[in-house]
Amino acid sequence: MNWDFYLPIAGHSLNIFMLLGLGAGVGFLSGLTGVGGGFLMTPLLIMSGIPPTIAAASDSNQIVAATASGSFAHHRMGNVDLKMGLILLAGGFLGGTVGVQIIRFLRTLGDADFFIKITYVVMLSLVGSYMLVEGVRSHIREAGSGYPLEHVPHPSRFRRFISTLPWQTHFAKSDVTLSPIVPFLVGAFVGMLAAIMGLGGGFIMVPMMCYVLKMPMHVVVGTNLFQEVFVCANVTVMQAATNHTVDVMLALLLLLGSSIGAQLGARFSYRLRSNHLKILLACIVLAVMVKILLGLILTPHYMLDFKGGE
């Protein structure tokens, strides 16, 4: 029996079960940690022989399903802060537009590839290391004191500055009071980086929501999935209209697996403690960073590659 399926835009066939399994695995992590999974899925698809531009665009398409499925599950559990999500989204669209212009400018200078890779390594290192240290430290303190770290009052200078900003608003679901300027700027910053790096930006957004906006981890996961639905839907339509690189059959097979995986991940996330989720996400982020770094340091097997091969 032939279990290969032809992907009309990618232009070749792949095994159905491999694609379903890939979707389920990444979807599970997505539901568990709240990140869209683009930074994991795209490299895995490229390794499977999908051209990079098609892998990235089709991945955005399948993330729409995984994030819609995951955010729906989190919404039912009361983990989506709609008000916060919409402000982050507005900032994200502005930041995304700025990021696209930065990349366009760098491409004219011929340094875009270098800039993108360095941004990846720096951002993944910072985010991964910080989350890992923070997660382990919190775990040790909780284990020692018996109460969560979030309840320890310790206002920093940065937090005092945030509290002086205008239009202080209470976000009931997140149980935080801050100026809408802060989530707007966070959204803009992440949107800009996401546009530069060509991803949904969940792995940057989640730590930012956690540490800058001080949202509880379970609301962070649900709210990030909610805003990523719109970010990825926008990218999918743009890619389909301008580059014709969205393979809907590839996305469908991946999303069948990922939407189920995301549901299981969302359920499993409720059984895990907040610190454990942070440590898990940090490990994934650092593993991806090491993979990219090795690709930069080790002598490549081929000195030549088809365009878009990175």
């Binding site: 032939n2 032809y6 499925s69 030549l304 088809f306």
Partner: protein, 259 residues
């Protein structure tokens, strides 16, 4: 007149050559190449195709068979060290190379790298290829070698020295037969099959045939829609993804209620 004598000899030699070729041609039974299938249809369950190609040739001859896709321009990126890190450092375009290239010979020596200036094999492709971009002329050979390796990795280029099977088809008539597995990366379009018949190291005949590759069914519909109605295709992809995601959410929620 000496001039007339030379002209007479030249015409006589040409007539003799034509006569020789004329006696050779009937032995090839019409000089047809049989290609099966003649039309390759790419449907949703397509995973590549096995092509069977055969042709008759005079006894005591050798043959080389090639399958070639249309000539295209391949856009490549080359890597180099940039601040001690491996980066894409510039674009290299390789023009006039076929999308797909497979060759099989009855005599392995005919496809060896030092076979000579024959119109087949990678050496012939390299002679016809044009290089553009950030490269030095001395690098052409290195770049082409890596280009072939990448194509072979994708199963789009392959040489089969000695892969062309020869059997007796009748008195003074041999039959050459080869099978090629064409990968699922095959692009729609026309593909050209050529058979060269070689005697004592010289080409005595060249025959050509072709076959077509077409998309059909769902792949054809989706490909056409993606190319010609991009926005509609993108919206459809988003709606489809959102619907599947929400549906799965709903199913799981109901299952969760049941517990």
């Amino acid at each position: 007149m000496p001039f007339c004598g030379t002209g007479y000899r030249a015409v006589s030699a040409a007539l003799m050559l034509l006569l020789c070729l004329g006696t050779a041609l009937p032995a090839t039974a019409g000089g047809e190449i049989v290609v099966r299938p003649e039309l390759v249809r790419i449907s949703s369950l397509f995973s590549g195709v096995r092509m069977s190609i055969r042709g008759d040739l005079p006894a005591d001859c050798q043959a080389v068979l090639t399958v070639r896709g249309k000539r295209i321009e391949e856009e490549m990126m080359r890597k180099s060290l940039h601040w001690d890190l491996w980066m894409n450092s510039g674009e290299v375009d390789i023009e006039n190379t076929p999308l797909l290239y497979m060759a099989s010979s009855s005599d392995p020596a005919l496809l060896s790298p030092d076979a000579g200036n024959f119109p087949w094999g990678y050496a012939e492709l390299e002679r016809k290829a044009e290089f553009k971009g950030r490269i030095k002329p001395v690098e052409d050979d290195t770049i082409f070698r890596e280009f072939v390796q990448l194509k072979e990795r994708d199963q789009l280029y392959r040489l089969y020295p000695g892969g062309l099977e020869i059997t007796h088809a009748g008195p003074d008539l041999w039959r050459a037969h080869a099978e090629f597995h064409l990968p699922s990366r095959l692009k729609p379009g026309t593909y050209y099959v050529t058979m060269w018949i070689v005697r004592n190291g010289a080409i005595i005949e060249k025959r050509s045939a072709s076959f077509n590759v077409e998309l059909e069914g769902l792949p054809a519909v989706l490909h056409a829609m993606a190319q010609h109605h991009g926005i509609l295709y993108g919206l459809l992809a988003v709606v489809l993804a959102g619907a599947v995601g929400m549906l799965t959410g709903l199913i799981f929620h109901r299952k969760g209620d049941g517990h």
